[in-house]
């Protein structure tokens, strides 16, 4: 078993946290994981890309070779499209639907939609909307974790357990909010036909 995930978004959207949640759950289930993060200038409101590799065998490098990623997981649609070169032709894009338009030449939404619809496998989730309904837009990345979780060989319980642990210091309200966000994302994931 190997699952290679490219994690993409805009600095500040919680891309690294998204990866940590899945990585921690996978590790607890006994998988080998390698999570590559971004820090420093790269993360300041610009494109952010991290990679998460999960396998039941040793993993040799943190980087995912071109054309081999099983998933691109994006907190923003344009960022999801940015790394298609890494995606395997059989791979899936899981992305939030809501554009983050802190740039002048952001493409029109219908063009993004057309490009996403043209992919063999794509799942589009209203990350912000579902997070808002769960109680706070900052949990939009956890909605995406939920949407993705359905495709991974992980017990949703291990992810929920780690969410509890991770947010425990912020109080039970925040824990519950994130659990609601996770479940909403998981329920909403429905792949387009191949």
């Amino acid at each position: 078993m190997k699952q290679d995930l490219v994690l993409a978004g805009v600095g500040g959207q919680g891309v690294v946290s998204l990866g940590v949640v899945i990585a921690a759950a996978a590790q607890r289930e006994g998988y080998t994981v390698k999570l590559s993060e971004v820090h420093g200038m790269a993360q300041r409101g610009g494109s952010v890309m991290a990679s998460l590799r999960i396998a039941d065998a040793p993993i040799h490098g943190a980087l995912i070779p071109a054309g081999t990623a099983d998933f691109i997981v994006a907190t923003e649609p344009l960022e999801g499209l940015r790394y298609l070169d890494l995606l395997s032709p059989e791979g899936t894009l899981v992305t939030a639907s809501e554009p983050f338009t802190n740039m002048a030449d952001y493409p029109p939404p219908e063009e993004l939609r057309r490009r996403i619809d043209a992919l063999p496998h794509a799942v589009v989730v209203d990350g912000l909307r579902l997070a808002r309904e769960a109680g706070g837009v900052r949990a939009a990345n956890i909605v995406i974790v939920g949407a993705l979780s359905d495709f991974l060989p992980l017990d949703p319980k291990s992810i929920e357990d780690y969410i509890r642990e991770r947010f425990a210091a912020k109080g039970s309200d925040i824990v519950e909010l994130n659990l609601r966000a996770f479940r909403a994302g998981r329920e909403s994931a429905c792949p387009t036909p191949a």
């Binding site: 805009v10 600095g11 500040g12 690294v16 946290s17 940590v20 990585a23 921690a24 590790q27 080998t32 994981v33 390698k34 999570l35 590559s36 993060e37 971004v38 820090h39 420093g40 200038m41 790269a42 993360q43 300041r44 409101g45 610009g46 494109s47 993993i59 040799h60 490098g61 943190a62 980087l63 995912i64 070779p65 071109a66 054309g67 081999t68 344009l78 960022e79 499209l81 940015r82 298609l84 070169d85 995606l87 032709p89 802190n102 740039m103 030449d105 952001y106 493409p107 490009r115 043209a118 992919l119 063999p120 780690y162 991770r166 210091a169 912020k170 109080g171």
Partner: protein, 552 residues
């Protein structure tokens, strides 16, 4: 917006970044003290250490004014027999080069290890210099981990080597390893060294007469270092399968080679190098069995260059210098795949559709924006002006929509360059520098400007933190900067502290304009807390209050 400064928040017990694995290895090796200046990709190592320094008996750890002061403090710890770690990014070693190079000549007593993290691909740096060159230049051991477990193991080994050979030992990380997490198995910790001042203080006095002897001693120990390199487990023949093409990997390149291994018809004869000086006998033995050697290394073609001098001319050496692999940018499994002669993998056709870039930018509400607005307003109408700036978040002021700064070279250069431009006759000249960069290496440049009463205006962007690296504490608080500047001799009537605020842009612009018109040295400090730092601070305070409530 940055992630929380303390990455421990999202650390799981055994899932460590390369940065953290070195820190944990150092702690378990009996570390007594550690010093650093923040810099990507090394920062997280020290943040991990700081979190551990809070525990009882934990090592003393403190952010320093700059990498040179950090290294010098480490020398003091070593001289009295205790183990010490210094942490910096690659360009930080340029700042610390003086103590570093000379520390190879003194007789290191307590183990001294330098963790230096290189940034090939320049994710968050101004160059991609390779720190292995520095280790070679100083003639000391350099260990280069290939993964997180080796980062831990090598950190532990490095202290023993440092004490055994009485030299500093360098651990070289690259961004990709520094910032990626994997499971690390730790071993029982070793106790700290007792306080034990060097029995031979002469071996720390680099007067020419003693320095000559100590330099000779360092040269004499080189064969021992080489023999360590030949026998150590970090340099090993991974595969001796026959073939006309052999491969030598160093550091993370081994992983990229292994990633492509399943697609090769057969494994190539393969030597991996994780410890320097180079194991020449092992290299020669491999070379003798092949016609061509493929060299896979992250960073400069250091190994490849050396090989050209030590192998028979008949051996073809292929790598970065030969043009097979790119000399610039970060190495990747795809580069290695191409170098191995494997075809590219199929991709989606639409992967070629262009996506507009999204460069990093200042956070919403960043005080630097107000300072740039004021600066641009103040410069309106001048035919020719120059704005020399420096390293930090405010370097993003070079990009649209601000385009407010015109240079960024190295820490502190803003002030020296501005003085140079003014000396050359340009007017007005503005120097822009952040508070932490000013304290790092701007103060000395300002002394030169004070001495000459240079016709320039220094704008200090004081956001009260080291912002770019995630909000570390500056070595002196904001309130100390004005007294420091006045103490250097800047005229009080030409030193102003103003707010960087959207509603005070015109006031700041007017002050800047007036000082540009003053033909002499002036300093304007634009103060407002980093917006992200403020957010993190209030969230921490909230958490503390909540914890208190629960306890109460």
């Amino acid at each position: 917006m940055p992630q929380p400064a303390n990455t421990l928040e999202h650390r799981t017990e055994l899932l460590l970044m390369g940065d953290e694995a070195v820190a944990q290895g150092a702690i378990d090796a009996g570390l007594s003290a550690a010093y650093a200046y923040p810099g990507t990709p090394a920062t997280e190592s020290f943040e991990y250490l700081l979190a551990h320094a809070k525990t009882e008996d934990g090592p003393k750890a403190a952010w320093c004014a700059n990498e040179k002061t950090a290294y010098e403090q480490a020398l003091g710890v070593s001289m009295v027999g205790r183990r010490v770690l210094v942490v910096m990014k690659h360009v930080g070693l340029n700042v610390a080069a003086d103590p570093f190079i000379n520390s190879a000549i003194v007789s290191i007593h307590g183990g001294l290890v330098l963790l230096v993290a290189d940034d090939p691909g320049m994710h968050s740096s101004q160059n991609e210099q390779d720190s292995r060159v520095y280790a070679d230049f100083a003639r000391v051991i350099c260990l280069e981990p290939a993964n997180q477990q080796e980062a831990y193991d090598m950190a532990r080994e490095a202290f023993d080597l440092s004490e055994r050979f009485e030299i500093p030992v360098v651990i070289r990380l690259v961004t990709r390893l520094a910032h990626s997490r994997a499971r690390v198995e730790t071993r029982p910790p070793r106790a700290q060294n007792p306080l034990d001042k060097t029995p031979d203080p002469d071996s720390w006095i680099l007067l020419p007469a003693t320095a000559r002897k100590l330099w000779r001693k360092l040269l004499d120990v080189q064969p021992e270092l080489e023999s360590y390199s030949e026998s150590c487990p970090f340099n090993r023949l991974e595969s001796a399968s026959p073939g006309s093409v052999g491969v030598i990997t160093t550091g993370v390149a081994r992983g990229y080679y292994r990633q492509n291994l399943p697609d090769l018809p057969a494994p190539l004869p393969h030597l991996h190098i994780g410890a320097y000086p180079l194991p020449l006998a092992k290299i020669r033995a491999l070379a003798a069995t092949v016609n061509t050697l493929l060299v896979l290394e992250e960073g400069y073609p250091l190994l490849e260059r050396r090989l050209r001098g030590i192998l028979p001319i008949a051996t073809e050496i292929r790598g970065k210098e030969s043009g097979l692999l790119p000399l610039d940018g970060e190495l990747s499994p795809d580069h290695v795949r191409q170098a191995l002669g494997l075809p590219p993998r199929p991709r989606l056709a639409m992967a070629a559709d262009p996506v507009p870039p999204r460069p990093p930018q200042l956070c919403k509400g960043c005080p630097h924006k107000d300072s740039f607005d004021a600066l641009k307003l103040a410069l309106t109408g001048y035919e020719c002006s120059i704005v020399n700036a420096d390293i930090g978040c405010y370097t993003l002021g070079a990009l649209p929509p601000y385009q407010a700064i015109e240079s960024c070279v190295c820490m502190g250069a803003a002030i020296g360059m501005a003085k140079g431009a003014a000396d050359a006759g340009l007017h007005p000249v503005v120097s822009v520098i952040g508070d932490s960069t000013f304290l790092h290496s701007g103060v000395t440049g300002l002394m030169d400007a004070v001495a000459a009463d240079t016709d320039m205006t220094l704008l200090i962007l004081d956001n009260g933190t080291v912002g770019m690296t995630g909000g570390q504490e500056t070595v002196l608080p904001s309130s100390q900067i004005e007294p420091l500047i006045l103490g250097l001799g800047v005229a009080p009537e030409h030193c102003h502290v103003l707010q960087a605020h959207p509603r005070k842009v015109e006031e700041l612009a007017a002050a800047l304009r007036a000082e540009m018109e003053h033909h002499g040295l002036s300093v304007v400090i634009a103060v407002r807390e980093c917006i992200e730092h403020a957010r993190m601070r209030t969230s921490q305070e909230r958490r503390r209050r909540r914890e208190k409530r629960i306890e109460g």
